[in-house]
């Protein structure tokens, strides 16, 4: 992703408008990623807000302006990982979030997150770590090595889990 280096320079000097413009380039993907990991909008708001605050405070440590997107995803994925670990019952949380009746997202017809019910079910059938791996690969564009570094796993393990998760979804959709 090509980023305007002038915007990064201004953001480093505390310019919130400049940071906002940088954020605007990637926020939809950030939110999708968080939603597919966590499964509910309330937690998405929490983790993305925290990510933005942390990123704004520490943007001076960003050396390569073109790495802004990846850097934001790294912060966000760490927060999603922590949030997943904090769930008392991760499966329940996610299932409730995707429940057709219970989900606040579903109540708004214009906000149909996963319009293919079968795909939705296939996705929610994955365990939380696999969901995170698939989301990282799909929305953040990370490769197995980068995902492995973020999740503390071997890159081959990540690749295997990613393949299995995608295969399991494909089987589910047959």
């Amino acid at each position: 992703m090509q980023v305007n280096t002038e915007l990064v320079r201004r953001a480093k000097n505390g310019d919130t408008q400049a940071f906002g413009q940088l954020y605007e380039l990637i926020y939809k993907e950030l939110c999708k990623y968080a939603f597919y990991c966590l499964g509910n909008d309330e937690d998405v708001k929490d983790v993305v807000s925290e990510t933005v605050l942390d990123a704004f405070r520490s943007i001076k440590s960003l050396k390569d302006p073109n790495a802004f997107g990846a850097w934001m995803f790294r912060i966000l994925s760490a927060k999603c990982k922590r949030k997943l670990a904090s769930y008392v019952d991760k499966t329940l949380e996610f299932n409730e979030a995707f429940d057709l009746q219970a989900s606040p997202v579903r109540q708004d017809p214009a906000n149909e997150v996963v319009n293919d019910v079968a795909l939705e079910r296939a996705f929610k059938a994955l365990n939380p770590i696999d969901r995170q791996i698939v989301s990282m690969s799909t929305f953040a564009g990370f490769n197995s090595k980068e995902i492995g570094e973020l999740l503390g796993m071997n890159k081959n393990t990540v690749r295997t889990r990613l393949s299995r998760a995608l295969e399991s979804m494909r089987t589910y959709l047959r």
């Binding site: 937690d43 998405v44 993305v48 807000s49 990846a70």
Partner: protein, 150 residues
């Protein structure tokens, strides 16, 4: 970010996920304009926003620790006071400084005659375990017709 090599089948699923996520509506609070406002309000004072970890959870989940604690206390009370021959009764009560013979006397409420005799004779004062361990001795004090204590 480096690229990952996917098989055609994997690409197909990834495309489906991307396609289905295209309708995702970002929460209003996370729109760029609102994020800039949030940064203007909070970003410069270097303080973390406090988040309620219970947000989005079912209300009863907040009470689970309290209910669990209440249940544990109830079980402890039952173990100590309602099961006279349990270890809890035999060991915990004395360890709390409670006069065990007095408690065992209360337990022997059914043996009214014995209790009356013991009270009258004042035989149990300070004599730890005299009731439980000294069943035969107590029996001597039991009036005719009363049940055997131990």
């Amino acid at each position: 970010m480096g690229r990952e090599d996917f098989t055609n089948e994997e690409k197909e699923i990834i495309d489906k996920i991307r396609q289905s996520s295209s309708n995702y509506k970002v929460p209003k609070e996370l729109e760029a304009e609102n994020i800039v406002n949030m940064l203007n309000a909070k970003g410069n004072n270097m303080e973390y926003v406090k988040y309620d970890n219970n947000r989005g959870k079912k209300p009863y989940k907040k009470f689970i620790p309290i209910i669990a604690l209440g249940a544990a206390v109830a079980v402890a009370i039952i173990a100590v006071f309602a099961i006279p021959h349990s270890n809890a009764y035999q060991r915990v009560i004395p360890s709390l400084g409670i006069n065990q013979p007095a408690m065992t006397l209360a337990y022997a409420a059914d043996y009214k005659e014995i209790r009356d005799v013991l009270n009258a004779a004042n035989m149990i004062r300070g004599d730890k375990g005299s009731y439980i361990d000294g069943g035969e001795w107590l029996e001597d004090f039991a009036p005719n017709g009363s049940e055997k204590v131990m």
